[in-house]
Amino acid sequence: MNAIEISGLRKSYGDFVLDDISFCVPEGSILGLVGENGAGKSTTIKLIMNTISRDAGTVKVLGVDNTSSAFSGVKDDIGVVLDEAYFPEVLSAKNVNSVMKRTYRRWDEKTFAGYISRFRLPEAKPFKDYSRGMKMKLAIAVALSHDPKLLVLDEATSGLDPMIRDEILDLFNDFTRDPGHSILLSSHIVSDLEKICDYIAFIHNGRLALCEEKDRLLEEYAVVKMSPAELEDIPESAIIGKKVSKYSAEALVRRGEISSVFHTEHCTLEDIILFLAREDRDI
């Protein structure tokens, strides 16, 4: 079963169009949604949560069409963290607990208290006096404290220092140890996605440029470095993207489609994304 199934999703804002987005998040997996700022990641997440209207397409979340009346109940099973925490600024963590236990049916006060203690968040301090890291930790604590089956995280780790990010990524990894748990994680920090994701979806200029299993991507693609003249010996169909200067050339290629005489280097997810963005073409 898929935790999220998106098919032919389209949303037009006039000057920006998110078009023909189709991908799935298999149950028990983490899918990383990557793309530059303004590529359409947050719009996709809003469409998944049905907080904005769509022009076309269908979305199923945990097996339920997100436009149906049953979706409101499904939200009990979804933990959401947005790019900001958006809690009323005068509320403390203790107050947030009082609100959330009356919001989510399976709210677990002990779990929440555990996260508050683990994240070293002051219980009585107003939210407005929290640092950005503390605010995001509170949002993550809320998302994890109502026994969710799916986490939808929109830039949840952006703006956090590497140590906090690492701690939070570990938490997400722990969450998916339960095979019934899944995560959709949107970020433009590709290294975070490479660290924990099973699948990668790359949205570029409102289009889905790539959706693939991460390990397969890293196995299938490679980087070659050579002179511009040598680059012409590589079949055009094998080249995903290239950077050519007067004296050197670098290309992202399909490993299986080029001769073994070429020396290939292991590529990172960031290489793949950057080459794809540079070439502005689908694969």
Binding site: T51, S53, S72, L82, P88, L91, V99, K101, T103, V152
Partner: protein, 207 residues
């Protein structure tokens, strides 16, 4: 929806302590004029809660939670109704206590006047909230100024006329409870229509 009400109450109590004290003081000061102000202020509390929601972009987060548009809207109406009701009850209790201490009888039409003020609070609330949901608190303030001005004038007018009205009702043998019932029914209809309009407006919002 109780989560939304708890959130609003916690926010208002923390941010609006002086405002709440003013409502309580105005409620217990003898005379309808002060009570009317307290009731109008109470009817404005949902707008204040909406302003804080807008500032923290709470609606964006709440739209991801298991709340339906009607929960978001009804919570604000319930907050307003409870606040107006509390101000009216406080006012009635205070008047009763003052009368008992002074060994004086209650003013003629006291109950009817209180019921009318409660209805006026509901109508103020019902007229304001759709504008606030449609235009936001910042732009919705124009509607606020117009409606609060009219409500204040109406409240002063009604309080000035209460004794005359009471004697008119007595002379014409018109049942006070029937008059209160008619006004209450009108307020209920306006409230229901207002809620339906607000839910429709809120359902079309995108976050």
């Amino acid at each position: 929806m109780t989560g939304l009400l708890v959130k609003d109450c916690l926010t208002l109590v923390k941010q609006m302590k002086i405002f709440l004290v003013i409502i309580i003081v105005f409620s217990i000061v003898p005379g309808y004029n002060m009570s009317a102000f307290a009731i109008v202020y109470s009817a404005l509390l949902p707008m204040t809660a909406l302003a804080y929601d807008e500032r923290s972009k709470w609606d964006m987060l709440a739209s991801m939670m298991p709340y339906r548009p009607r929960d978001m809207v009804l919570s604000k109406y319930l907050l307003g109704i409870c606040a107006v009701l509390a101000a009216v009850i406080l006012s009635c209790v205070a008047q009763t206590v003052i009368n008992a201490v002074r060994h004086t009888a209650a003013e003629p039409g006291f109950i009817a006047g209180s019921a009318v003020m409660f209805c006026a609070g509901l109508i103020t609330l019902s007229l304001l909230l759709p504008f606030m949901f449609r235009f936001g608190v910042e732009k919705g303030r124009i509607a606020l100024f117009v409606i609060v001005g009219l409500a204040a004038v109406a409240a002063v007018f009604l309080s000035g006329k209460s004794e005359d009205a009471a004697s008119f009702y007595a002379s014409e043998s018109i049942s006070l409870s029937a008059v209160a019932g008619v006004i209450g029914a009108a307020a209920a209809v306006i409230l229901i229509v207002s809620v339906l309009i607000s839910v429709r407006i809120y359902s079309r919002k995108e976050f």
